[in-house]
Symmetry: C2
Subunit: 418 residues, 2 copies
């Protein structure tokens, strides 16, 4: 007889074995979606030279001291400086340089007047800019370090690289980007009933959907899946697949074979490996038979063969372990509160994790089950963006109740199990 | 002088030119993250044979009619059927077959009793199962088509393939998956001030961050970026890059060169191409100079060279166009309401799109600016998961006000511009 433990206890037992993975370098081009292996700091001030935020004229402010609509000042335009070029030599107080957005302020200039506030005037073959107002020293100059100082922390280690992070990396010259290696996750689907996706159906058999689903879950979490195909329900085949996977992968995930049926060999495999059993029964639905063990310091996750239980088991147990390997402090699923849209009056002694759809309405969060919640219905997974958590016990839940919801498509995560 | 048009009008002008892209087939292994090109329907009933949802014994219900704790019934166990195998020949009313979860119900049996409710008894060298209660006909049998009927719609065209969709595809034998081709998006960064990411800084120059950022934005939206490198601020170089890109890509995105500076050549390029200008000024901050034009039925997006304006311009204009090419009805950014966490008292005649961080608190949505909101600060993009929309006009916005927020990391989208 197996004794169920609480979900939080099961997660804690697994996470005790978690560790940070290795670092590697990839080009910035390949960095999107990877987890940063180091804090990213500003390698220079920004701007790193005084520059013009507008198209206009770089001038000496003092020259405009007495300028007004009735007494405009004329400054000689001695040239134009575009973004990327540098004006050679200082300008004199009676001169101006036409300047483009982003260009460096010429030596001698200490202000910029926007082009819209001026007029060009040709006189004696020379070009002048007419200025009808006083310009203050420093006006319209983006100063060195105004936006950011060299050395300041920009992006924390573990952050998944999004387009904004890519922009920061490019700005500061990170062509080679330190990222965490993708943890290798072995996926073994056990079950003599399993057919390949391309095989025609036979009576008693179904197609192997869990391996493909897990492969996508591993990718979504940032890992590198290695699929070991489907394995027949024999002890030898299962043992062989698991031992091979332990040599090649960082994490070994099996699906199926963990229940109490005559052909459920995962418990025997753990035993023969001399593995330390972490748990083999969890107080949760679906997936109460979810198991985990440690052999040679490698964690073996024994997920249920039932598609929904397999899905939930991955997100609750494997995902945080994988995220921790990616150096992420916030390795757990993020929990939010939402208003239940439907009654759940049937009670259950175990905590239920219902695949759910979280929606937004007028500033409030609402949650409802995604499709029918039978654990063998894959279609309810299609629309699930969250898991609705219904604590076990003797009470049902009425529509309108505030409940906990775990987000499945959120990169931010949480620092601990809710 | 350019006349600003409203953001919604600008989006409408672009989307009039949108069209659905082409379809291709990829293996299920490569389908994660792609957009479905067809509705996916159930190719069989599920289950497609009567099967056992539990480990137990397949029996004829009638044999248990008089069973009770005091008068248990003994049925002879004639064998075991595991998932994936089929019991040959019908069973008689006095017989039982031990059956595992997922196995097909043997002919002659019409109910399953869970193993936990029985006991095995050996008598005269034969194995019997002892049953102490009446079992109803049909009990614990998952019937053909109980979960799903052949032909029913499972996943809609345009859906981005997530792990749940992969499970559905595998279950129904979709080894080759019809997906939309990734639209090819040309990215051209203009500006003589631009350095490569690996180049050391020179006075007046900055590294090209927009091209890398846009590349990641294109990937996030489901497109295939083609980066044409950086282009000097000359008419010839800009014209050459744009015409080359038009031949190779479905969508052409430039960044920089759209303002009114002396070296802003995009308007001239549009003119020489004989392009139909869709707009060259939009009532928005940042990015009021964002432009778009159509040449040879190809849309050219002229985004601002300012990193934040470039980012926002992509999400507002290019993303929905790209999503429409991916066959997605919900091609626009999803809008939600949230409570403003900070004052925005400064007014602006134009609608502001502030890079923001949406958070959840006790069932409510809250929003705050991500980092400082200067349009030239890339660091504020790092934490942005949304755009906070502040309508233009003469009023400021106090903390606590309910405001519109556009979600950037949501796959669901919306059927029309908010």
């Amino acid at each position: 007889m197996r004794k169920p433990i609480k979900v939080e206890e099961a997660i804690e037992r697994v996470m005790k074995w978690s560790y940070e993975g290795e670092k590697e370098y990839v080009s910035i081009e390949e960095s999107f979606g990877r987890a940063l292996a180091e804090d990213i700091k500003a390698t220079t001030d920004v701007p790193w030279f005084d520059r013009s935020p507008y198209d206009g004229y770089a001038i000496c402010a003092a020259a405009t001291e007495n300028a007004s609509a009735s007494t405009p000042v004329l400054l000689e335009v001695v040239g134009t400086v575009g973004a990327g070029s540098v004006w050679e030599g200082p300008i004199e107080p009676h001169q101006a340089v036409k300047i483009m957005t982003g260009a460096a302020i010429p030596d001698g200039a200490n202000a910029v007047i926007m082009v819209e506030l001026t007029q060009e005037v040709i006189k004696d073959g020379k070009t002048f800019v007419q200025i009808k107002r006083r310009v203050a020293e420093g006006e319209n100059i983006s100063r060195i370090g105004e936006d950011m100082q060299e050395g300041c922390l920009l992006v924390e280690k573990g952050t998944v690289i999004n387009p904004g992070v890519v922009a920061v990396l490019a700005t500061f010259g990170y062509y080679r980007v330190p990222v965490m290696k993708r943890p290798k996750v072995a996926i073994i689907a056990t079950g003599s009933e399993l057919l390949e996706v391309y095989e025609p159906l036979e009576k008693g058999k179904i197609r192997n959907s869990n391996a493909y689903m897990l492969k996508a879950q591993v990718r979504r979490a940032g890992g590198e899946p290695i699929v070991y195909g489907k394995v027949k329900d024999t002890f030898e085949a299962t043992f062989e697949a698991v031992t091979k996977a332990m040599q090649e992968a960082d994490i070994v995930v099996t699906t199926g074979g963990v229940s109490v049926g005559d052909f459920d060999y995962i418990p025997n495999v753990y035993e023969k490996l001399g593995a330390q059993l972490l748990f083999n029964k969890v107080g949760m639905r679906p997936g109460s038979v979810t198991s985990a063990a440690v052999a040679d310091k490698k964690v073996l996750f024994g997920l249920s063969g039932n598609p929904s239980a397999c899905y939930v088991g991955f997100e609750l147990f494997v995902r945080p372990f994988l995220k921790a390997m990616l150096g992420q402090k916030n390795c757990y699923l993020k929990k939010v509160q939402a208003i239940l849209k439907e009654d759940f009056l049937k009670t259950n002694p175990f905590t239920r994790f219902v695949r759910a759809k979280l929606s937004y309405d007028d500033g409030m969060l609402h949650v409802e089950p995604a499709g029918k919640d039978k654990s063998n219905i894959v279609s309810s997974l299609v629309q699930a963006n969250s898991l609705l958590v219904l604590p076990g016990g003797s009470r049902g839940f009425k529509a309108g109740t505030k409940v906990d919801v775990l987000l499945l498509e959120d990169e931010e995560g949480a620092p601990k199990w809710p």
